[in-house]
C-alpha cells in the first residue's frame, strides 16, 4: 500500500523547494510508488508552495507521471509503427492472457500494470517494452512469458 511517510520532505530536501524541483520530486515519488496519489500531490504542493491543481496539471502532462494507481511493475509496450509492424499485438495479447488484465488495468495483487506507450527508441529491435525503466527488446511471446515469470518470482 501507499505509505508516503517522509518521502516528499526527503525529496524536497534533496532537490530544493523551488519550482524547478517539481519534476525531480514527482519523479522521485513515482520511482517509489509507481504513481502519484492525491495525498502525495497535495503534500508536494504544500512543500513547494504552489497549488495542488498546478501539481496535477504538470504531472498529468507527462505520460510517466501517472496520477492513476499503478502496480509495482509498470509494463509499457511500445505501440509506435515499427513495434506495431513487428508483432506488438501478439505481445500485448500474451501479457493480457498471462496477467489476466486488459491494457490500462492493474492486477488485483497490485503487482503489474499493463500500458501502451509511444516510441521508446528501440525500433531496430522491435517489438520492445519497458518494465519500470528496464527495456526489453526483440520480444516474442515466449520471451515475454519468461520475463514476466522472473518478475513474478521477485515478489
Amino acid at each position: 500500500m501507499y505509505q508516503l511517510g517522509n518521502l516528499v520532505k526527503e525529496l524536497s530536501e534533496k532537490h530544493g523547494k523551488s519550482r524547478e524541483s517539481l519534476m525531480p520530486i514527482l519523479q522521485g515519488v513515482v520511482d517509489q510508488h509507481s504513481y502519484l496519489s492525491d495525498e502525495a500531490m497535495v503534500e508536494i504542493a504544500n512543500e513547494l508552495d504552489i497549488s495542488a491543481a498546478e501539481v496535477y496539471g504538470t504531472a498529468s502532462f507527462y505520460t510517466f507521471l501517472d496520477t492513476k494507481e499503478r502496480g509495482r511493475y509498470v509494463i509499457r509496450v511500445c505501440k509506435t509503427i515499427t513495434c506495431a509492424m513487428k508483432g506488438k499485438n501478439e505481445i500485448l495479447q500474451t501479457l493480457e492472457d498471462m496477467l489476466k488484465i486488459k491494457v490500462g488495468e492493474m492486477t488485483v495483487d497490485r503487482q503489474f500494470s499493463l500500458l501502451e506507450s509511444n516510441c521508446i527508441g528501440w525500433c531496430h529491435k522491435a517489438p520492445a517494452m519497458l518494465i519500470n525503466e528496464i527495456p526489453y527488446t526483440e520480444l516474442t511471446p515466449e520471451k515475454v512469458v519468461e520475463i514476466i515469470k522472473s518478475y513474478m518470482q521477485k515478489k
Partner: protein, 593 residues
C-alpha cells in the same frame, strides 16, 4: 522607434510593441481570442495569425514584437484560409448549442464564427468523442468543458490575477483540458467563486449559475413580498449591458426598472454598507483599545475587512491561522439580509417567511456567500437569491423595459437611504475611506483632514496602497490614541492580497487595518460585472463611483438617517448583543487544495 508596414501603411512604434498593437494604432482590426488585456500573452489560439513577407510560416500578431522593416499583411488569402480553418477547428471541439446557450450573442467564438465560418461545416464533430461532465457543484458558476476552447484565459486569470490556481491546464494533446485538482468538483477545491474566470471566458464554458427564473417565480407569487437590494458597484456598470458606454451612472433608472420588474421593495445595499462602517469601525477601535490599553494579545491586529466573500474563502483556504484577524462583520449583503427578515419585516408588518430577499451584486462569490450555513441569523435563509449585474440586465431585457427612457426614481425608505461612504464600497480603497471618515470623527470629533473628505492616498489603481493618519486632539474617550499614527493598507485582486498576507504572516506589516477585495479594482471589477471588464473599463467605472459619491448630500456613514434610526429603534448601539447576533459571523478553516 521601429519602422514597419502593415497592409502597406507605414508606421513607427516603440520597440517591444506587438504587431497586434501596432495594427490597432492604424485602426486595422486583427481578430483575437486567447488575448485579454488583463493577462499575459499566450499566443495559443492562433486566430490572430498574419503574414510577414518572407517568413516561412504565419505569425501570431499578439505574441510577435515588431522588427525593423517588417512587411505585414493581415488579410491575404493565406491568412484568411488559416483563420477560417482555426475558427472551424475551435467550433469542432465546442458544443455549439448556441440558441440555448447562456452566452448566446455574447460569445466571442460565435462572433468569430459569424465572420469566418458561416456556411457548411468543414470538420467532424469532436465533442462526441469526449465524455464531458458539466460541473454544477458551485453555487456561483457552472463549468461546462464541452464548450471550452482551451484558450486558457481562465487559468491565467486564476494564476496571474488571483494567485489561486484552483484550475490549471491538465493532460496533453487531445486529452488536454482545464481541470481542478484531479478533476474534483469546483465546490471541493480552493476556488473562491470570485468569477473572474467567468468574466474572461470567451464562450459559455464558464458562466454564472443563474437564478433569474427563481426570482421571476417569487415576483409572480402573490403571497411573497420580494425585497431587492442593489450593491454600490451595480449602478455604475449595469448600463454597459443595456447599451450605455462604460462609466455611465444609471442609479435612478435602475431603481425604476426594478419597480417595473415587480419587486415589492427596492432598497439599497449602500445602507448596509454604511451600517458595516458603524460595526466594523467600532470593532477596529475596540481592537485598538484592547491591544493598546489592555494589552490583550488575542485582539488580533491588523484587522482585515470582511466584505468580499471571495477574499473570505481565500483566507479560509490559504491563511487559516489568521482568521482571528478578520473582522467578524458580515458583508453588507448579509447584514442587509439578516435585517430584511427581522427589522424590516417588523417595520412593514410582514411575516418574515413571506419575504423573498434578492440581491443584485457585481459578484458571483455572493451567490456562494448567501448559501453559507452561517447566513441564517434571521431564522431563515437571510438572502434567498443573488443575481449578478449581468443577470439584472437580462431581466430588464426580458421584461421589455425601455431602459434608456425610464424616469429616474429613489429607493424606498427604511433601508434605502445611503451616503457617499456606502457608494465607494464599490471601489478598492472605498471601505477604508468610508471607515476613516467615520472612525476619525468618532475619535476626534472632527472630520478627516482631507479636502472634501476625499482621502486620495487610498484611491487609485495601484495593487497595494498604504496610508497613515496621525490622530491628534482626541476626545476624552479616546485619549489612548492621542498622537498615534493609524497605518492602513489596501489590496485588490488576490495576487496583491497574497503579497500583503505574506508580509503580515512574516511579521513585516506595520498596519493596523487592511482592506482587501478579491477582485481587481474592487467590486467595480467584480466577476459578476458586464463583459468585457478590463483596466480601461474598470477605470471608467471608478470615475463614476467617485462622481456618485461627490454628488451625494451625505458623505459619511454615521450621518445616514436610516442607520441612525435602526440603532435607535432596533439594534441599540454598534456591536451590541443584537448587532452581534444579526450582523456578525465566524469563519471556517478549509482544505489547502
Amino acid at each position: 522607434m521601429i519602422n514597419l508596414s502593415i497592409n502597406n501603411q507605414k508606421i513607427s512604434v516603440e520597440p517591444g510593441t506587438t504587431i497586434l498593437d501596432a495594427a490597432r494604432e492604424l485602426n486595422i482590426n486583427i481578430p483575437t481570442l486567447c488575448n485579454h488585456p488583463d493577462l499575459c500573452v499566450a499566443g495559443n489560439c492562433r486566430v490572430c495569425v498574419v503574414e510577414q513577407t518572407g517568413a516561412r510560416t504565419l505569425i501570431a500578431a499578439c505574441a510577435m514584437p515588431v522588427a525593423e522593416g517588417m512587411d505585414i499583411h493581415t488579410n491575404t488569402l493565406k491568412v484568411r484560409n488559416a483563420r477560417k480553418h482555426i475558427v472551424e477547428l475551435l467550433l469542432s471541439e465546442h458544443r455549439s448549442d448556441c440558441t440555448k446557450c447562456y452566452r448566446n450573442q455574447k460569445c466571442e467564438l460565435q462572433s468569430l464564427a459569424n465572420e469566418f465560418a458561416f456556411g457548411d461545416t468543414i470538420f467532424l464533430d469532436l465533442v462526441e468523442d469526449h465524455q464531458y461532465v458539466i460541473d454544477r457543484s458551485s453555487p456561483s458558476f457552472i463549468k461546462d468543458d464541452s464548450k471550452c476552447i482551451r484558450c486558457q484565459r481562465c487559468v491565467r486569470t486564476c494564476t496571474e490575477l488571483q494567485h489561486i490556481s484552483a484550475i490549471a491546464v491538465a493532460n496533453k494533446g487531445m486529452h488536454q483540458k482545464i481541470s481542478s485538482f484531479h478533476d474534483k468538483p469546483m465546490s471541493h477545491v480552493v476556488c473562491t467563486n470570485c468569477g473572474q474566470c467567468v468574466n474572461r471566458c470567451p464562450t459559455g464554458a464558464l458562466v454564472e449559475k443563474t437564478y433569474i427564473d427563481q426570482v421571476w417565480d417569487a415576483i409572480y407569487d402573490p403571497d411573497k413580498h420580494v425585497v431587492v437590494q442593489t450593491a454600490p458597484a451595480v449602478r455604475i456598470a449595469l448600463g454597459e449591458d443595456l447599451g450605455y458606454d462604460p462609466g455611465e451612472r444609471v442609479t435612478g433608472k435602475m431603481v425604476t426598472a426594478l419597480r417595473q420588474l415587480g419587486f415589492d421593495s427596492v432598497l439599497d445595499t449602500d445602507f448596509s454598507a454604511d451600517l458595516t462602517i458603524m460595526e466594523e469601525g467600532t470593532e477596529l477601535l475596540t481592537r485598538l483599545r484592547k491591544t493598546l490599553v489592555e494589552g490583550d494579545e488575542k485582539a488580533a491586529l491588523p484587522m482585515f475587512t470582511s466584505c468580499s466573500p471571495g477574499w473570505i474563502k481565500f483566507i479560509e483556504h490559504k491563511y487559516p491561522e489568521m482568521l482571528d484577524n478578520l473582522s467578524t462583520c458580515k458583508s453588507p449583503q448579509q447584514m442587509f439580509g439578516a435585517l430584511a427578515k427581522t427589522y424590516f419585516a417588523q417595520k412593514k408588518k410582514l411575516d418574515p417567511s413571506s419575504i423573498v430577499s434578492v440581491s443584485i451584486m457585481p459578484c458571483t462569490a455572493k451567490k456562494y456567500e448567501a448559501d453559507r450555513p452561517e447566513m441564517r441569523s434571521s431564522g431563515y435563509k437571510d438572502i434567498d437569491f443573488v443575481l449578478t449585474t449581468r443577470e439584472l440586465a437580462i431581466m430588464v431585457k426580458q421584461a421589455g423595459i425601455d431602459f434608456r427612457n425610464l424616469e429616474p426614481s429613489h429607493y424606498d425608505s427604511i433601508m434605502g437611504e445611503s451616503t457617499g461612504a456606502g457608494v465607494i464600497f464599490g471601489a478598492t480603497g472605498g471601505v477604508m475611506e468610508a471607515a476613516l471618515r467615520t472612525a476619525y470623527e468618532i475619535v476626534t470629533g472632527r472630520e478627516v483632514p482631507f479636502k472634501n473628505l476625499n482621502i486620495m492616498p487610498v484611491r487609485g489603481l495601484e495593487g497595494i496602497k498604504e496610508a497613515s493618519i496621525k490622530i491628534e486632539n482626541c476626545t476624552d474617550d479616546w485619549k489612548f490614541l492621542e498622537g498615534a499614527e493609524l497605518k492602513v493598507a489596501i489590496a485588490h485582486g488576490l495576487t496583491n492580497a497574497n503579497k500583503l498576507m505574506r508580509m503580515v504572516r512574516d511579521g513585516n506589516s506595520p498596519y493596523h487595518f487592511i482592506e482587501i477585495m478579491a477582485c481587481p479594482g474592487g467590486c467595480r471589477g467584480g466577476g459578476g460585472q458586464p463583459i468585457p471588464t478590463n483596466e480601461e473599463v474598470r477605470t471608467k467605472r471608478m470615475v463614476a463611483i467617485y462622481a456618485e459619491d461627490e454628488h451625494m448630500e451625505l458623505r459619511k456613514s454615521h450621518d445616514n438617517p436610516d442607520v441612525i434610526a435602526i440603532y435607535e429603534e432596533f439594534l441599540g448601539e454598534p456591536n451590541s448583543q443584537l448587532a452581534h447576533e444579526l450582523l456578525h459571523t465566524h469563519y471556517t478553516e478549509r482544505e489547502a487544495y
